[in-house]
């Protein structure tokens, strides 16, 4: 049976079909004859181009990955910066209220404003590191009396270190541009004083990218202004400035033969027994101050003091 079936197996194809099949076969053969010698070249070219394409894609993927990472980082950093600004505002509002409560006798809290004059100095970086370590925020009254170079490190530009003060949340105060309180200096003329204040403001703005130091400290203290004090205060007020002196002199500027860490420490701690809110005068160039500072912070913190940077709304700041 199988034999019979097999003998009947035939393929019938018409003449047109046979011609079509032959033409198709010829076309395929011709295409193959055309293709074979070119295939290697095309394949090699394709491989090279494919490699370039893959490399480009890898670069794009890497760039996109980096972009995503950077975007995320910038987003987080922006948020942290915004949060810091919000928190600092809240802190100053709370501090203003607390100060008022302390003045009114409604609060037993104590506030200490550490202020350092005459910067920037290279030693300022040591103070910044110390404050970072002790989680303390202070106020730096900066001047450009020494030009745009650090007095204790002549190869470092003064303006380059300005942002460092802000980076740690400290307040930059205005200690006039010239700091010249001698005869014929700042206090000889209100205009000269105000010019020096404005010059220092401009310098700070430029160095920090927009920060305006609104709290002024008179070089040598407001007492140095003498009879011109009222006039200068009016001018400062007119131009939106506030000013502050100190309630405690650490004594670090009393002369190198007198000032030492022990004296500075005792001066501050003795004064603290009588003051719930105190503005302590230090100087950035003073090495004994740097030496005494850890003990001062520890002792004052132990006595319940909160260390704050000065802010224009503070009761300690004259407006």
């Amino acid at each position: 049976m199988a034999e019979t079936e097999r003998t009947d197996r035939r393929i019938k194809i018409s003449k047109a079909g046979l011609i079509a099949a032959a033409l198709l076969a010829c076309a395929i053969l011709a295409a193959t004859v055309f293709t074979v010698p070119r295939f290697a070249g095309v394949f090699k070219e394709y491989r090279g181009l494919r490699q370039s394409y893959k490399t480009a894609q890898k670069e794009l993927t890497a760039a996109e990955k980096a972009n995503a990472g950077l975007s995320q980082k910038v987003k987080e950093m922006t948020k942290m910066k915004t949060d810091s600004e919000k928190l600092s505002k809240q802190v100053f509002e709370l501090a203003a209220k607390t100060e008022q409560d302390i003045v009114d006798g409604k609060s037993n809290k104590k506030i200490c404003y550490i202020t350092l004059d005459d910067g920037p100095y290279k030693r300022g970086q040591d103070f910044l590191e110390l404050f970072r370590k002790y989680d303390v925020k202070a106020t730096f009254f900066l001047t450009t009396a020494n030009g745009d170079l650090l007095p204790d490190q002549a190869d470092i530009s003064a303006s380059s270190v300005y942002p460092d003060y802000l980076r740690y949340g400290h307040t930059i105060g205005n200690h006039t541009y010239s700091h010249d309180y001698g005869d014929g200096g700042l206090y000889s003329d209100t205009g000269a004083f105000m010019k020096s204040v404005e010059d220092q403001t401009n310098f700070t703005e430029e160095a920090t990218g927009g920060y305006v130091p609104r709290i002024v400290r008179f070089p040598g203290g407001s007492g140095m202004a003498g009879s011109r004090l009222d006039e200068i205060e009016d001018s400062l007020r007119e131009r939106g400035y506030t000013w502050v002196d100190w309630t405690v002199d650490s004594g670090d500027s009393w002369g190198t033969d007198v000032a030492n860490a022990t004296l500075i420490k005792s001066n501050v701690l003795d004064a603290s027994k009588e003051q719930d809110i105190m503005v302590v005068l230090f100087h950035e160039w003073s090495e004994p101050t740097l030496e005494a500072m850890p003990d001062i912070i520890d002792s004052l913190r132990g006595s319940g003091y909160i260390f704050l940077p000065l802010f224009p709304e503070s009761v300690m700041v004259s407006k």
């Binding site: 003998t7 197996r9 035939r10 393929i11 019938k12 194809i13 003449k15 046979l18 076969a25 395929i28 053969l29 295409a31 193959t32 004859v33 293709t35 074979v36 010698p37 070119r38 295939f39 290697a40 070249g41 095309v42 394949f43 394709y46 181009l49 494919r50 370039s52 394409y53 480009a56 894609q57 670069e59 760039a63 996109e64 980096a66 972009n67 950077l70 975007s71 980082k73 910038v74 987080e76 950093m77 922006t78 942290m80 910066k81 949060d83 810091s84 928190l87 802190v91 709370l94 501090a95 607390t98 809290k109 970072r132 989680d135 925020k137 980076r167 740690y168 949340g169 990218g209 909160i306």
Partner: protein
């Protein structure tokens, strides 16, 4: 390396295809020859039978008068008009090879068609004569009725020539399959080449587009990096925020 591989494959395909085509043509020729031989035998057998000049009596495969050995079978019949029974050996009918239709078969078909056509024409003529007779005898015109009917459309006799390939022959079948596979492979190869060629043509544009996009992303990255640098150090910012938070909590206590 790919060049050599592809060249070898191509040359192999071409050569093998040619061999296969040649083989098939040879087999078809053999078949044709066989068919002719069979037809010749058939003709001789028919001649012998029709004229009754030769009767093969004997066993199977007896040699006939034409000196061709045939397969025969025994046929018994009664002679008409008598009660005499005779036995004769008749060549066993063998199927002629039907691979190709012969010109004679075509001619037969055409003759048959011509005969049919003539028969129909005669029939029509007869009907016409009858109608004419009816008119003459006054029985009315039957011609009009007859002629009103359209003449049956003559369909041309179409003889479709077909080629029949016997695939019961294993050798041919295998060769046909091999040929089909090889041509399919060649077609795939050609399609692959086309695909590669097209892709190669499109790749530079795509690469350029990707590179352009990469440059844009890199520029954006540079801007982002600058923004990040302006914002400061990540850890310092975090530390600053935390320190403000602690200070706030200290005052709130």
């Amino acid at each position: 390396m790919w060049y050599y591989i592809s060249s070898y494959v191509g040359i192999y395909c071409v050569c093998h295809s040619c061999l296969i085509v040649l083989g098939i043509i040879t087999v078809m020729d053999e078949n044709k020859e066989k068919t002719l031989q069979t037809e010749e035998q058939e003709n001789r057998r028919t001649f012998s039978r029709d004229t009754s000049r030769h009767t093969w009596i004997g066993d199977v495969d007896e040699m006939g008068p034409d000196e061709i050995s045939r397969t025969v079978k025994r046929m018994t019949q009664t002679i008409p008009g008598t009660e005499i029974r005779s036995t004769r050996m008749v060549e066993k009918q063998r199927k002629a090879y039907k691979g190709f239709i012969t010109d004679e078969e075509v001619k037969d078909a055409e003759d048959r068609a011509e005969a049919e056509r003539r028969a129909r024409a005669e029939e029509r003529n007869a009907r016409l004569d009858m109608a004419q007779t009816r008119i003459y005898s006054g029985l009315g015109s039957g011609l009009e009725d007859e002629s009103a009917q359209p003449e049956e459309e003559r369909k041309p006799v179409r003889v479709r020539r077909t080629y029949s390939i016997n695939i019961s022959d294993g050798k041919i079948r295998k060769r046909l399959i091999a040929l089909a596979v090889i041509f399919a492979l060649m077609l795939l190869f050609d399609i692959g080449y086309l695909f590669l060629d097209r892709s190669a043509a499109g790749l530079p544009g795509r690469t350029e587009s990707v590179q352009k996009e990469t440059a844009e992303v890199l520029a954006e990255n540079e801007e982002l990096q600058q923004t990040a640098d302006n914002l400061g150090d990540y850890e310092q910012l975090k530390e600053l925020r935390d320190s403000w938070q602690r200070l706030k909590e200290q005052i709130e206590e």
